[in-house]
């Protein structure tokens, strides 16, 4: 039987302040060619610098991916000609990658699997070329932007595993805070090597590039497995080639046949001295590592959040970070999580916002949660208050006062309203007493309408039943 073997290479654009080998600003979103200096342009006579922040980000990533960290490393030049490569070579790490032999654990069908990581290295990005009207335009903002490349061993055996790995990797890197990891915007790029074999020897592999989203990772691999299967089963041979994923055809198409011995003439970068990292520096970074998803999952389970909420909250890092700031008891936290993954997330999605772009504040939100749990406001009121809070950042007490939501838990006030409604709807009262349950729903509806839904429905029902049984 043919078994697929898959290796994944992921490039991550780091969100450092400066570029990796120049002091140019690392902000690819700026107007084209505004974050460019003479180093990025490979001006004659300039020499690379080394941004220490990138080494630290590399170490962080190594720690999160359980890699061995190189204590002494150097950079290599990868030489080739291309208009997007101003120096005629890319500075990368071929012989002394910062990280080796790591792993990332994924859960496949309830079982844990360690996806082994071969190596992790630091390199610089090229310019962005834009091909338009038979011309090529170069944006040097991206030239020298720091990248980390993470390469797995050929240890993945299904498109599902591959997708889970990429998702988990993305989530981990996001929580590390080193990258935006937006595959759609190119800050995370994913290539897959796929081969099939019916024995222990790996088959001829093809490389798939240009996979534009995480869901496409699975589709691209699935299609490639199927393509290779068909060829092999009909007695054909796989050609070593580079393919790309075409998102219109939703299939892989040939880019180029692999030329034998792509010769990059690697040699150690003589313009940068060896970089050494001490045990102490590594320990310091380790001690300041942010809390990562695996750890969060356990933490949230202990609070008592349900699995759905845990998934949702971890998938939304802005909400998760907000949630982690809340200082509330566990039962209040569960309510808080429901509000965040429910009303708040819906609001954010509707307005295409992240939580940090709204005006909501931790202490204000905590007050709201307390009022809700103490039933001083209803769910419906809470929803309304949250929307205002997100819009204006107003204090919860002020919103309640402005909206006239106060005293709503006072039984006497509620009973007055109930009596008023009962008086106005004698017919329904009679119906109820004659056993027509529907009448109760109608009366409830009338009360909620009168109070614009500001009351806690369970409390109203309780008091209504009391009034009716008198």
């Amino acid at each position: 039987m043919l078994t697929p073997t898959i290796g994944i290479e992921v490039h991550i654009e780091l969100k450092s302040k400066a570029k990796v080998f120049s002091t140019g600003r690392n902000d690819f979103q700026s107007l084209p060619n505004t974050n460019v200096n003479i180093l990025d342009l490979a001006y004659p006579g300039v020499l690379p610098k080394l941004n220490k922040e990138i080494i630290n980000m590399g170490i962080k990533t190594c720690l999160a991916l359980n890699c061995n960290i190189s204590k002494t490393m150097y950079f290599d030049r990868k030489n080739y000609f291309y208009p997007d490569l101003p120096k005629g070579y890319q500075i990368t790490q071929k012989n002394t990658p910062i990280g080796t032999n790591g792993y990332l654990e994924i859960e496949v069908d309830g079982k844990n699997k360690k996806v082994e990581i071969e190596e992790l290295h630091i390199e610089e990005d090229t310019c962005k070329s834009i091909h338009k009207d038979k011309k090529t335009y170069l944006n040097y903002n991206r030239a020298g932007v720091p990248l980390i490349e993470i390469v797995t061993k050929p240890c993945i055996h299904s498109s599902k595993e591959a997708k889970l790995y990429v998702e988990k990797l993305r989530e981990t890197l996001l929580y590390l805070g080193i990258s935006d990891v937006k595959i759609e915007e190119g800050s995370m790029r994913c290539d897959a090597n796929v081969s099939l074999s019916d024995n222990d020897t790996l088959g001829t592999k093809t490389e798939i590039k240009n996979i534009g989203s995480i869901s496409h990772v699975a589709i691209a691999i699935e299609k490639e497995i199927k393509r290779q299967e068909e060829i092999l089963n009909s007695g054909g041979k796989i050609v070593e080639e580079t393919r790309r994923f075409d998102d219109k055809k939703m299939d892989t198409v040939r880019m180029r046949i692999k030329e034998t011995g792509n010769d990059y003439r690697y040699f150690p970068e003589p313009d940068l001295p060896y970089v050494t990292v001490s045990e102490k520096e590594i320990l310091e970074i380790k001690n300041n590592l942010p809390i990562l998803p695996d750890e969060l999952r356990v933490k949230f389970q202990n609070i008592g959040l349900n699995e759905n909420n845990i998934k949702t909250i971890i998938a939304n890092i802005d909400i998760c970070h907000f949630f982690l700031k809340l200082k509330l008891d566990n039962n209040l936290l569960i309510t808080a999580c429901n509000l965040l993954t429910g009303d708040v997330l819906a609001y954010l999605n509707k307005n295409n916002l992240t939580l940090d772009k709204t005006k909501i504040e931790v202490s204000n939100f905590e007050k709201l949660v307390k009022l809700l749990v103490n039933k001083e406001i209803s769910n419906r009121q809470a929803k309304e208050i949250i929307t205002i809070m997100l819009d204006t950042g107003d204090d919860v007490k002020k919103i309640i006062k402005d909206k006239g939501f106060s005293n709503v838990t006072d039984d006497k006030v509620i009973k007055e309203i109930i009596n008023k409604i009962l008086n106005e709807n004698q017919e329904s009262v009679n119906d109820y007493k004659n056993g027509k349950d529907r009448a109760l729903k109608y009366l409830m509806g009338q009360i909620m309408k009168e109070t614009k839904g500001s009351l806690d429905p369970s409390l109203v029902q309780k008091l209504l039943l009391e009034s009716l049984s008198l």
């Binding site: 004659p44 006579g45 610098k49 208009p83 005629g88 003439r265 040699f267």
Partner: protein, 481 residues
Amino acid sequence: MNLNKSIKEINELLKKKVIKPSDLVKEALENIKKNNLNAFITINENALEEAYQLDDKPVDNILFGIPIAIKDNIVTKDIKTSCASLMLDNFIPIYDATVIKKIKEKNMIIIGKTNMDEFAMGSSGETSYYKPTLNPWNENKVPGGSSSGSACCVSSRMVPLALGSDTGGSIRQPASFCGVVGLKPTYGRISRYGLIAFASSLDVIGPITRNVYENALLLNILAGHDDNDYTSSFEDVLDYTSLIGKDVKNLKIAVPNYYMSEVIDEGVRNKVKEVLDILKKEGLQVDYIDIPYLEYSIPLYQVIALGECSSNLARFDGIKYGHQTSNYTDITSLYKRSRQEGFGDEVKRRIMIGSYVLSGKNADIYYHKALCLRKQLTNSFEDVFKKYDLIIGPTNTNVAYDFNKISSDVLKSFYDDLLTNPVNLAGLPSLSLPIGFNVEKLPIGMQIIGNYYKEDVIYQLASFIEDKLKLNLDPKGGIKC
């Protein structure tokens, strides 16, 4: 005729307001105009204007107002920096090299950019796109290279000071052919930022001067760490003149047998021996020793220097700056034709050899093996310095030769580096000092190699020998300074 005076004397005259910086610049410009040695590619058109601005300023340091010539592979803001290549014939930098900044801070005046072998590749000056520089001692002879114009303009007394660069001997060899003092400092002693790279792990900038003291003066202002060059050293900067005039009796001298072997011209060897005799007479310990791996330095140098050069020159692709062909159909032909037209034969040859030694399996066969051997050679030198203060030998195997010798033997320029490039491979400092003339009245140079960052000790001995020999090094027989 003020520029013929020593820097110290000029400084005194400037301080006393007897002369002004503009007088010096006028004189230098006239000297350059009078000469037909082709030492300069570009003259700084603003030099006189810059000098006028200094005329009323207080003389705040010993190099104040002194005109200096700069090798044309060191970038100078707003002054064409061509590397003596058509590739950069239209290149006007928008920034100053670190050494240029330092020179400007000291209110020195950049008089112009000197001729050289194209991209510093050559040892006769003949690979220049702008025609070769001539030797002031005999215009039928090469001035040496690649810092041809810098050695020539100091030798012929157009200017008192110049900067060169040395990758395998490019300061010392022309200094010796032209009878001037040239220092290749310790690798990393002077920032390379703004030096258009030939071979990054070997390249250094260094001073070329008429005498030892002035060489040390110039090194004083050039040395130091630079945040723009990560290979520059944090080692303390010394006053490099401080040991000049100090007793040399206790210095221990090693002479490599290899440096005094048959391959060296007898006349050159004899001159070096005469100097060694003076030293012995003075009471210095002088021992002949063997330095293992020295004999491998030429192929070793070729593999490392040319490997690096093939990569360093990749940026000249006709897209961002420099020569762009007008005749192309696609990106590949743009690259090919721009480089084909822009580079001269020697540069192309070196890029090809360099690409070859780094290609595929060759990287292991040649390049990585060379790196190991380089380490061994370095260790050999380090062993010598455990017992000795300085190593002495001739700078070159012979004196300046006739033009067109290189074109008949392309390996000649590499063999010219026989005695100089081991020093680059080890990263050590070394100075070429004129020690006399051959029968044709052509200068002979001697090399003094020091331990890392011990340029001060090199100057100590060099100055002692200079003082003993009292040579007149003005090709026209002018005043000695």
